[in-house]
Symmetry: C2
Subunit: 193 residues, 2 copies
DNA sequence: TTTATTTTGTACCAATTAGTACAAAATGCG
DNA sequence: CGCATTTTGTACTAATTGGTACAAAATAAA
């Protein structure tokens, strides 16, 4: 227990790497771009993170998607969880355009890597399943509490919401304007009543 | 008007290339993989297609997404166009698993290249807009003919269907089984009445 | 059969890819 | 201090990336 102290703050350096991976994807993010953004030398990088792939895995596990994370944190303390879910989706419409272009980190990863780096794609898919589970849990609870009247199977409704999320994250790339997205989202949310 | 005859059938060779691009994506498909699959030498390749990027553009323009193409061909001759659209979506559930893994060529392209090869991503986005227009046209017609009772704005309904399509093409990667997809799709189609 | 035209095969290229080897530097502990 | 331990910087690799140069091959028309 001694050794030369490391210069970098792991938290900050991972954040920089995530930003790059999120916007450019896995393959299109080169090691040199990572090193530059993280402010690390090659030696420190490999010593600390092992490989590009391991770094990517670590980032997926740590941050998941910001949005998912925030939602998961908010739901248990919200008096009307379903309303919080509605806000989750409504927020998409008013996002700044650079967020439209980034879309969903996990969705992007599933799409990009499913036939080339399947283990990474599957790992991302599991995060999306966690989001789906989150939806299912709170939908079921809301049906019991009376916040939701619908008799639809919570599992199907949850999968529906996941698909809305996935769909919006492509559609918002095609139509990055709130005027198009807002009525679309309101329509989609009509199943949540 | 003379010259050495070319060995390859352009149609077949483009089909091979599309298959590769569709499953692996743009970046992850190397020139060597293309040459091998197409059965061409480098010289013939560059002479005939210019560059990897131009080839990709040509393929996008020519084939678009198979599914979109077939739908666009069927709709004008179908007695109940909306029912044809429903079948379009129901077909997803019963697709073989290799199609689940491929997803939508244009959706994949929008996602992969939006921050790295923006012109290609935008080109793909335009194809998706064509699909959206197709939906809008036939929804509006069905409202006039009485096949649809809903009073929802055809533009919003069309964007909704595009988003369902986009969403399913990610969700089907996470849940490639018909038992999960079928009730989901039926739920989503309830707006089409 | 020459000639213009087009396609093809081979060799080559500079740049970039992810990743390693290894010694020097910087610490805490005994 | 001196030593074990850890992190860092520099140099180096082997493989792969997309793309070019150029001459040989194969044709149709004159």
């Amino acid at each position: 227990m001694a050794g030369r102290p490391s210069i970098f703050d792991e938290e900050k350096v991972l954040e920089k790497a995530r930003e790059l991976f999120w916007t450019r994807g896995y393959e299109a993010t080169s090691l040199d771009q990572l090193l530059e953004a993280m402010g690390l030398g090659k030696s420190s990088f490999y010593h600390a993170f092992g490989s590009k792939k391991e770094l990517f895995e670590k980032i997926m596990d740590r941050f998941v998607n910001d949005a998912i994370h925030r939602l998961a944190a908010d739901l248990p303390i919200h008096p009307h969880p379903i309303e919080r879910i509605r806000e989750f989706f409504r927020g998409i419409a008013s996002s700044p355009s650079h967020l439209h272009r980034k879309g969903c980190f996990m969705g992007n990863t599933v799409v990009e890597l499913i036939n080339t780096e399947h283990s990474l794609s599957a790992r991302a898919a599991k995060k999306l399943e966690r989001l789906e589970e989150l939806f299912r849990t709170y939908i079921a609870a809301a049906q019991r509490s009376g916040e939701l009247q619908t008799k639809e199977d919570p599992a199907v409704l949850a999968l529906y919401l996941l698909t809305v999320w996935n769909g919006l994250n492509i559609t918002r790339r095609v139509h990055p304007n709130p005027e198009a997205l807002r009525p679309l989202i309101e329509l989609q949310l009509q199943f949540l009543k």
